[in-house]
Symmetry: C2
Subunit: 162 residues, 2 copies
Amino acid sequence: MQHTEHSVTIDAPVHVVWEIVKDAEGYARIFPPTKKVEILEQSDVHEVIRLLVEVDGNDHTWVSRREIDFPGRVISFHQIEPVPMLSQMGGEWRVFELDGDQTQLVLTHDYALREAVDGLVAGVFAPQEAARLVEVGVERNSLADLGAVKTAAETRHGGAKP
Amino acid sequence: MQHTEHSVTIDAPVHVVWEIVKDAEGYARIFPPTKKVEILEQSDVHEVIRLLVEVDGNDHTWVSRREIDFPGRVISFHQIEPVPMLSQMGGEWRVFELDGDQTQLVLTHDYALREAVDGLVAGVFAPQEAARLVEVGVERNSLADLGAVKTAAETRHGGAKP
């Protein structure tokens, strides 16, 4: 299992960031590659959502389950139907309060590649190539997602500090 | 000013991690390149320390001021006498509680290169080369420092979770 962590400091209070991270339907507004989010199931502590996301010019869809820890301000997610290259994909959004109306946002990922069959992952990629593609994709998407939440929160809060 | 953030999840309670991050004199035990830490000044909320650190086989020394925010579990630091390539070097250790006896540790850096004189930074490096050297050094040291605190905390707490 691969584990990655990325973090960003946001010039907006913790409740503003938490509202944005919690609002799955709003993802289509703040993450440009996300075209549509459909809520399939919902309770106070969980959601099952279907996402339609453009990746490299093609539309992909997957279903994710999110567990919402309100007091801890953590949302853990995992793909119920992962994309073809992966046997598992999950992670957490973690929202922490900092002094001075700032917020620490951390995004983690835990994932595992599918085993190669006849030397190929998902019927197309050599294992090293698949590992590299996923690593680069997680890195790029993590930075993009954190940046999108930061921009949305600081805009909603009235702009970044000078 | 360049800003970087790195984070790690530690399988030990927040007070264990905070004690390790707060104990500047202990750094010489847990960070192998740090040979000696001398406390020059100390109060409940600040410290001035002199570090003796081996970098690329040579001993370097610098003086840092640390501001300790006990309730927020944040230690901010900045070099009072930065190393020759830098006009500023500072950052924060931030320690957050997670559920299940886990801790989120975040390490940030904010730094600025010295301006080039006659095309050279610190009399030796072209600006792009200096920028790249510092970027690589901050990346490597951040990962090493977070890893060292993680190992020390999990060892003290009795080992990582299975």
